[in-house]
């Protein structure tokens, strides 16, 4: 009984550990058309999806653009910094 509960807890922790997000933050410099282009060309979003997230960045100050393992999110953040977009990594539940 006890062993089963423990193993379940471990699995849940593993799932939580992999849940990281990439956030892109609003800035007054990068053009809306450029941000949408970056989302399309880098993340492969459709124009509709890219525009939706771009407007979320513009209106709400930030938007989640990716979810997954921490290392993958760090790669995305580095790519966004290449483009001059301001992006950060954080835990999904933070």
């Amino acid at each position: 009984m006890t062993q089963t509960i423990e193993s379940t807890e471990i699995r849940e922790e593993t799932v939580l550990d992999s849940a990281w997000i990439t956030l892109v933050w609003n800035d007054p410099v990068n053009l809306m058309s450029y941000v949408s282009y970056v989302f399309r060309s880098y993340f492969g979003f459709s124009r509709e999806e890219a525009d939706k997230r771009m407007l979320q960045v513009h209106n709400d100050g930030r938007a989640v653009v990716a979810t997954g393992a921490r290392e993958e999110m760090e790669r995305h953040v580095e790519a966004m910094h290449d483009f001059g977009l301001w992006a950060t990594v954080q835990k999904a539940d933070a």
């Binding site: 956030l23 007054p28 990068n30 058309s33 483009f83 992006a87 954080q90 933070a94």
Partner: protein
């Protein structure tokens, strides 16, 4: 400037810039490359093998956000609320990120040098377009920091309307700001031109 358009023969994007326009972007791209040059170079390691390794892997970045706000904006923290994780990430990635930005600026400078010999025709292959987009963004981010454009409301203002921290500012400073603001807006137009031609 005649805006960028796609050359249907070879998929390159072509624009025509005047001499002052060419030299303006040339100067600004060189300033970005100079600003990031030290951060992009490998640390002073005497062992050439170790230096080559640092160069290849790109490790050895700064411990914290740079004190120059323009550099800090181009090489920002990767974690908003975790200073330790930001430092670790910076140590692993800052040098290579800075080196890629310098390399992009050099691609822009090289294409401007070619344009200088062909009556101002700027002809960009797809990879060069990517360097141009990134370098134009880096230049505009740098100018924005210098002009104090920090909010969406600031972005709507003209150069002389921006808050001026320098109490000794005189008319000459206002003129400079106004001119830089025009340059900033024009560079945004160049980016738009590239994006429209890519469609």
């Amino acid at each position: 400037m005649i805006p960028f358009a796609r050359d249907l023969d070879d998929e390159s994007l072509v624009a025509s810039l005047t001499q002052p326009e060419l030299s303006l972007i040339h100067t600004l791209a060189a300033q970005v490359a100079d600003m990031l040059g030290d951060l992009a170079r490998s640390p002073s390691i005497t062992d050439p093998d170790a230096a080559a390794l640092y160069e290849a892997v790109g490790i050895g970045g700064s411990a914290a956000l740079h004190s120059d706000p323009a550099i800090a904006r181009l090489l920002p923290d990767a974690y908003a609320d975790d200073a330790d994780a930001s430092r670790d990430f910076r140590g692993l990635t800052e040098r290579s990120l800075a080196a890629r930005k310098v390399a992009n600026a050099r691609v822009v400078i090289d294409s401007l040098d070619v344009a200088d010999e062909t009556s101002g025709e700027v002809r960009l292959a797809p990879a060069q377009v990517q360097s141009w987009l990134r370098t134009l963004a880096d230049i505009r981010l740098t100018i924005a920091v210098r002009l104090g454009i920090e909010t969406d409301d600031d972005a709507e203002l003209k150069g002389y309307e921006l808050e001026d921290d320098d109490q000794t500012a005189d008319d000459q400073t206002d003129d400079d700001k106004l001119m830089m603001r025009d340059v900033y807006d024009w560079l945004g137009w160049v980016t738009e031109s590239l994006l429209e031609a890519l469609e």
